[in-house]
């Protein structure tokens, strides 16, 4: 590499620095070339002795106290949440908490009813001999009970699943709203 190539490459590599700094640096390296030439060295030899131009540029950039443009460090500034987003977030929490409580209360009620109906079903079965004339009615009642309990069971099962799914979604949505805004 001759002097011109070396200096051109150096100033290109120093592109992130202010123009004045690049000028001062290339002037100093230029002076180095001139003085070394007086000792009878060729430009190629001097370039080799100076070392890798990328390394040299890197050391200069690391030694420079100036801050480099922000673009080189961070990709893009994070979106900040607004006050309104936070107020809205609290407001929907105020609605969501009572709904969740009601839902849980409803599910507990369903579970209790299922247990009660099942125990009555079992009791009727064990006492079946004592019903006498009511036997037919009790049989029909038992069949009805089976469907009733299955129906309540389905309601309870889907109720709990929906509660968990909706709860997860709500928490995720609200956290995003709180930290990053609308």
């Amino acid at each position: 590499m001759n002097k011109k190539e070396y200096l051109d490459l150096l100033s290109k590599e120093l592109g992130a620095l202010p123009y004045n700094d690049v000028k001062e640096i290339t002037d100093e390296i230029d002076a180095h070339f001139e003085m070394a030439k007086q000792e009878g060295k060729s430009e190629e030899q001097i370039s080799d002795d100076l070392g890798d131009v990328h390394e040299l540029a890197k050391s200069y950039i690391n030694c420079t106290p100036y801050k480099l443009p922000q673009v080189l460090k961070d990709k893009e500034p994070k979106k900040k949440s607004s006050t309104w987003a936070k107020i809205f977030s609290i407001a929907i929490c105020c609605v969501a908490v009572p709904i969740t409580c009601l839902w849980v209360w409803f599910d507990v009620g369903l579970a209790t009813k299922i247990i009660a109906s099942s125990s009555v079903f079992v009791l009727r079965l064990t006492n079946f001999g004592n019903y006498g004339a009511y036997k037919f009615a009790v049989i029909m009642n038992q069949i009805g009970s089976i469907f009733y309990v299955i129906f309540l069971g389905c309601l309870l099962y889907f109720g709990i699943r929906l509660l968990i799914a909706a709860g997860k979604k709500f928490i995720r949505f609200n956290r995003k709203l709180w930290t990053r805004g609308f």
């Binding site: 100093e28 002076a31 180095h32 390394e55 040299l56 200069y60 690391n62 030694c63 106290p65």
Partner: protein
């Protein structure tokens, strides 16, 4: 020699070379790179950093042949820093010599 060894002491060496007399970039680069086997270019960014930190100041002086040369001069702050470096270096050198020699220090 290990390049990491050299990097750690370069600031100190450059400051020490300027303690006796002011000097220009090429002179420092040439003699230092010959003594500790470095690329000639290594010294220039260090000189620039030392100047930015106020350890050295610069001035231009005419030379008999060629354009004016940029001379480096050790400032008071640079002298104090050099004293500290040398003290630290001697202490560090003693401890490391002890460790690699297998002696028990203290």
């Amino acid at each position: 020699m290990n390049i990491q060894f050299k990097k750690g002491v370069l600031d100190m060496c450059v400051l020490a070379m300027l303690r006796e007399k002011d000097s220009y970039g090429y002179d420092i680069a040439d003699s230092l790179s010959k003594k500790i086997m470095l690329a000639d270019g290594t010294v220039y960014p260090i000189l620039r950093k030392l100047a930015a930190d106020g350890m050295v100041s610069t001035y231009l002086m005419e030379s008999q042949n060629g354009p004016p040369r940029k001379y480096y001069h050790l400032t008071e702050s640079g002298k104090n820093t050099l004293e500290e470096y040398i003290k630290d270096w001697e202490e560090f050198n003693k401890v490391v010599t002890g460790i690699i020699g297998g002696q028990d220090i203290e």
